[in-house]
């Protein structure tokens, strides 16, 4: 992976940021010894990447989350170790940030430090979310979140999906949407994320070039 040492994942609420971040960290671990993921979600009470702590630790990825170690608490507490995660040149790190400008606000507190290191900030787009199904909708959130974070978005992730119901058509719809956003913003598309079963059926060359097949780690087997 050619991405920078520090990768920040942001986007509209419910775009699949945590699922992408989790998959990204697992992928990173294939090529790097020291990988960590920091769950900075101060918005959601459920479905946060910290719930997968055991899974990460088993495969050797370090997890940093709230300083209050309890998955059933929705207090906006951040880990003190976060500064180390940002500054440590020897570890690859993924920052899984909460949705919308309200979630991105945690980044502003660290923006001065982050600006001094090599980082990528990826904006995750799900074209099947009602608020980000149009170029205007995506641009609105992109600009608001970027402004709140005080950092620069360096790549777009097409993560257009309907969970296990995702079709090739959904991914292609999201690709066209993300392309238009890329054109408007001059921010390149970095990945085209898609669940593995659907990824096998994709034929569009532009999507295949940047395809990032993902597992649904955050979904229980009984969930759709």
């Amino acid at each position: 992976m050619l991405d920078k040492r520090l990768v920040i994942i942001i986007g509209h609420y419910g775009s699949g940021k945590s699922e992408f971040a989790v998959n990204y960290a697992v992928k990173m671990k294939e090529n790097h010894d020291f990988v960590s993921i920091a769950d900075l979600d101060i918005v959601n009470p459920y479905f946060r990447s910290r719930e997968k702590r055991e899974f990460f630790e088993e495969i050797g990825i370090k997890v940093y989350d709230s300083s209050i170690r309890n998955v059933a608490v929705d207090l906006p507490a951040l880990p003190a170790e976060l500064m180390g995660v940002i500054l440590n040149p020897n570890s690859r790190s993924v920052l899984d940030v909460g949705g919308d400008p309200v979630g991105a606000r945690v980044l502003a507190r660290y923006s001065e430090q982050i600006k001094n290191v090599e980082y990528d900030m990826f904006f995750v787009i799900n074209g099947r979310r009602p608020e980000t199904s149009t170029v205007e909708g995506v641009l609105k959130y992109l600009k608001l979140i970027e402004a709140t974070s005080k950092l620069k978005i360096s790549g777009l992730i097409n993560n257009t999906h309907l969970l296990k119901d995702t079709t090739v058509e959904d991914v292609e719809f999201g690709h066209e949407l993300t392309k238009k956003v890329s054109w408007e913003t001059d921010i390149p598309i970095r990945y085209e994320a898609c669940i593995k079963d659907t990824a096998l059926q994709i034929t569009n060359k532009e999507i295949l070039e940047k395809l990032f097949p993902i597992n649904l780690y955050m979904r229980e087997e009984w969930m759709s």
Partner: protein, 353 residues
């Protein structure tokens, strides 16, 4: 409209607006806070009014007022917040005012936890407030179903002049799923000629009230309510059932747990055990009659709930002592696993074939 991905709580708001809900009064609480958050943005855009009340008690009384004036109105909360609303709910039921109340249940008792729970079954089906009243109570198991039931709920509330509860757990509120908003089938609803809409100087004032000072009048009022509840029992039972005739073990679960149970059922069938399922979609009225269709192969019933066992009472009433009724439950925000349900199925069936 094509499918979109929505969180349960957002979908509840969108469905209510689709059903013509014009007023929302509430007070945020995890895990249902996205409902007021969504309504605060979307309802004014749809020509309605969102108001964050100073408390749950205030919110439910605003619902009482708006519903009494004939408007389509909703409130939503989670377990402790719904407890606070009970006084208002019995007033609304007594005054026969239509409204929709959503409960994204969390762990209890008391403040409990913010994780999912199903321990408000008694409160929802027996009436958490005082007096002889009933509330039609829907228990969706998916985001699509909660959308459909919220829309249906508004019609049923108007039709019966009765509060309708949508009882889901925090998992349904917080979970994302693909959902489609279909145009609801139009139904004939009576004019709201009882509502306090202003006399225009042409008629006597309408009074919306639950106070009857004469014993005979209150008895007559209660008799009339009873007749209405009987009618609801006869006409509004909804459930999903599968494989009851051949089943060795029958699983009973609603909402989120019904999905876990279905996963366990498939695993049991792969091991050669015949499993049936009853999923109540209305908790009140409870689908008692479908239990009569359970065949003679059945060795037992397994009720699965995120509570210490509440629906199990209704299951026992429905089974009429024909079969033993077993229980698998979790509390505190724990969600039962398909593996634990499978283990119970195997025990009841007498081991793997």
């Amino acid at each position: 409209m094509s499918k979109v991905l929505m969180k349960g709580n957002e979908a509840v708001g969108a469905a209510a607006i689709k059903a013509g809900c014009k007023y929302f009064f509430g007070y945020p609480i995890t895990p249902s806070s996205e409902i007021p958050e969504y309504m605060s943005k979307a309802l004014p855009e749809a020509g309605g009014v969102f108001l964050q009340a100073e408390s749950e008690v205030a919110a439910i009384n605003m619902v009482y007022g708006a519903g009494g004036a004939g408007a389509r109105v909703m409130t939503a909360s989670s377990s402790p917040g719904i407890s606070l609303k009970q006084e208002g709910i019995t007033y609304i039921a007594g005054a026969e005012v239509p409204c929709v109340i959503v409960n994204m249940m969390r762990g209890g008792p008391g403040l409990g936890s913010i994780q999912p729970g199903q321990a408000d079954y008694f409160q929802s089906t027996r009436g958490g407030g005082n007096g002889d009243y009933r509330t039609l109570c829907y228990a969706p198991s998916s985001i699509q179903e909660i959308v459909d039931l919220v829309i249906l709920g508004f019609d049923k509330a108007d039709y019966y002049r009765n509060p309708v509860l949508i009882v889901a757990d925090g998992m349904i509120g917080q979970m994302m799923e693909a959902v489609e908003f279909k145009d609801p089938a139009p139904i004939d609803l009576p004019e709201k000629d009882w509502a306090t809409t202003g006399t225009g100087g042409k008629r006597q004032p309408n009074v919306v009230n639950s106070l009857f000072l004469q014993a005979e009048e209150l008895q007559a009022h209660n008799d009339r309510l009873e007749k209405k509840y009987k009618l609801i029992e006869e006409n509004e039972v909804l459930y999903e059932a599968y494989g009851l005739e051949e089943a060795e073990v029958v699983l009973v679960a609603y909402g989120t747990t019904s999905r876990i149970v279905k996963t366990a059922m498939k695993q049991a069938e792969a091991k050669g055990i015949k499993v049936g399922i009853i999923r109540p979609i209305t908790l009140w009225p409870f689908p008692h009659d479908v239990f009569k269709t359970i065949g003679n192969n059945a060795k037992g019933i397994l009720t699965v709930e995120m509570s210490a066992g509440q629906m199990i009472d209704d299951v026992k009433i429905a089974v009429e002592g024909r079969l033993p009724v077993y229980f698998n439950g979790t509390q505190g925000g724990m969600v039962p696993t398909p593996a634990s349900v499978l283990a119970d199925i195997e025990k009841i069936a007498g081991g793997t074939k």
